[in-house]
Subunit: 418 residues, 2 copies
């Protein structure tokens, strides 16, 4: 069965804001067995609203909109959809009471204008909003369904889960979308495609999408099926073959972030970590501490932009910096080992490089980054040349550093694994 | 004049990827005098492609699409649009030669399938692609314009600027969109609206959008005008009145990020800065070093998750942590002053708090963050209670910390301004 999503709001037609609700809605609709066939973004103009709803209803079984249910006059979705479907609006006293209640709770009187949000089209079911004033609406017309949801994601998402999901799941096809979320690092997109295309092409009836981000490739095999066991078996088999083709570059088959995977490894091996960063400027520490509970493995980090601080905080000998330069494999190694010793951690990581746009030379160009890892037995170092802007270079460097930690645990001797 | 944007690609109808080209295209079209009336996302299905192009052409003057020009069979935009407009496709030998050339340059032979990209509808003008193989296409039909662009932003953007902009600017209305980008912090969205709504409501013919992100509000007044001088004068006047209403909460009238503004202040006052972070885990240092040239003012930072490291790196007395707790105004103050002394910086910033989801207590709940700033004359501290998830709490804490530095320079005595 097919669905379309309509995002309503003039601000979504400016250069400043994207509709992001449709990602959440697409995921949920797919799980319920609905293909999303088109997405639309329209402003709050009456004729556009009417036109897009009526045309969508000609094509698909379910039309879901978000936005345009606010209290002010420029929010027109409720009125226009009611009119387009030939339904009169009636004041729902129960909803009105709830909105007034909500205002009272926050010590305010309900502005008159909010009464509009209690208007419900004939035959429509209001969908309770636990997080705001605007209720959603469920309308059925000629066997088709129209769902109107509020725009704020914090209101839309719980409303969808509590109110829309149970209603739609009774109507959805038995066909459901099954999918996997594989994450790869250390290979460019074209190499990933070359390795996996011969595999996914053998599976008729499945679709596999490759998405590239700096330092990370995502692979999403998908299959529509009425039989969960068969779909799971099929995807398991595909994932197994992808895993063989991708080797250790594959770091997750369940959509985890690289920092999540590294966090798991550290916790599993009861290891601790500390980092000394220069060009990444704190981003590596920020990613490591982005994981809840990171205080159990993350001891601390230093951002030593100046050479003095590389010496003071990470114990890098001043003469070494003078002899080899701050951006060198030797200094990266000394930073990794120094921060490990200073903090008493199992592992130390050192990152030094040139993020640009200035500061590059022919010998040490923008994008050159040295990353080192140290444990009690020794150190290892790798040199990278990352393309792109300052921000991309910094992000790729954190990705490479996290991957070095991940691979450490793949190779570490049991003794080093605590 | 009106335009619509069509993003083509089945991957844009998955839960994983958004069309972002439309933000760039909207900004460019607005500058050329075109309102964007609707945006569409469709897959690579023939009937959907045909239908959406033909309906858009009924409504607007210019239809711009992105995506679906690749070499493989599932990319259908070129063929379907040609067919819908009744144009035959012909091989363009000049384009074919250029694609072959491009492959040769990278040491490869052109795969046969790429020859499709050299097919041009009758009467269409190919748009040169300097960054990839797929040329764009410019078609005119009954006085209306259809522009087909490739999907990768790195190909689409230069093609738009070089090939589409000059052609469209000859056709655009004299009416152009003029806009400003104001940034506010320290006030919730509702307060911003309450202060600025009485102003923008007085300016008929203008539109003002308020966008909220954690710790930051954006305000975009916009006006369509044939007269650049009049529009500039009008927006200048609005911005002046907004500035009066918003006071020191307004940190940029030109769309700068808070770290850019702080970087400018630091450079202007020849001041240096160092940070000691706990709950923000390196995010504050990462934002400060996100600005090119930050090594001129950023000395360094420490992420001291453990109490030992708060003492070792930021000189926080161990007894103080024991007496007051790691999350306390006293420790924040000691971190700020300690890191300033350790690094010899003009300013030191200390951040300590509970980012959650665990670790909260009734007295010190998740979201409690203490932020302190120190200069050679003394210290100041503020306590915050941020709502939301771990990530939001951490982001809001960095935003508040940067804002404390910005406000320092508003209030600092000339002597402290180096």
């Amino acid at each position: 069965m097919d669905a379309e999503i309509i995002a309503v709001g003039s601000e979504l037609l400016t250069p400043y804001r994207l509709d992001t609700n449709s990602l959440f809605l697409t995921g949920e609709l797919n799980r319920l067995g609905f293909h999303v066939r088109r997405k639309h973004v329209i402003g709050d103009r009456d004729d556009d609203l009417r036109d897009v709803f009526l045309h969508a209803l000609e094509r698909v079984d379910v039309v879901v909109s978000c936005g345009g249910l606010g209290p002010t006059e420029d929010d027109r979705t409720r009125e226009i959809v009611a009119d387009a479907l030939g339904r009169k609006l009636k004041l729902n006293n129960e909803i009105l009471r709830r909105i007034q209640e909500r205002f009272r709770k926050f010590g305010r009187t309900m502005p008159e204008v909010n009464a509009r949000q209690a208007m419900v089209p004939e035959g429509a079911e209001p969908l309770a909003n636990t997080q705001g004033t605007a209720p959603g609406l469920w309308l059925e017309s000629d066997g088709k369904v129209v769902v109107l949801l509020p725009g704020p994601p914090g209101e839309l998402q719980p409303m969808f889960s509590r109110e829309v999901m149970p209603r739609l799941s009774r109507r959805g096809a038995n066909l459901r979308l099954f999918t996997r979320d594989l994450r790869i690092t250390g290979l460019p997109e074209s190499d990933v495609d070359q390795r996996v295309a011969p595999i996914y092409k053998q599976y008729a009836g499945t679709e596999t999408t490759i998405l590239a981000a700096p330092g990370e490739i995502q692979l999403h095999p998908r299959v529509w099926s009425e039989d969960p066991a068969a779909a799971t078996k099929l995807l398991d088999e595909m994932v197994k073959r992808f895993a063989l083709a991708l080797g250790q570059n594959l770091f997750s088959t369940t959509g985890e972030s690289l920092e999540d995977v590294v966090a798991n490894e550290l916790q599993e091996h009861r290891a601790t970590i500390a980092v000394a960063e220069s060009c990444t400027g704190g981003m590596l520490a920020a990613r490591l501490t982005n994981v809840p509970g990171s205080s159990s493995y993350f001891r601390g980090g230093v951002v030593s932009y100046s050479n003095d601080l590389k010496s003071a905080w990470a114990g890098v000998p001043r003469e070494l910096i003078e002899a080899k330069g701050a951006v060198s494999s030797e200094v990266a190694l000394a930073m990794a080992d120094g921060i490990r010793r200073q903090t008493g951690s199992t592992l130390g990581v050192g990152v030094t490089g040139i993020a640009g746009p200035g500061g590059g030379t022919p010998e040490k160009p923008v994008g050159l980054v040295h990353i080192a890892i140290a444990d009690e037995k020794g150190t290892k170092e790798r040199e990278f040349r990352f393309p792109g802007t300052r921000d991309r270079i910094r992000h790729q460097a954190t990705q490479a550093a996290l991957d070095i930690v991940r691979r450490y645990f793949l190779y570490a001797a049991p003794a080093a694994r605590a």
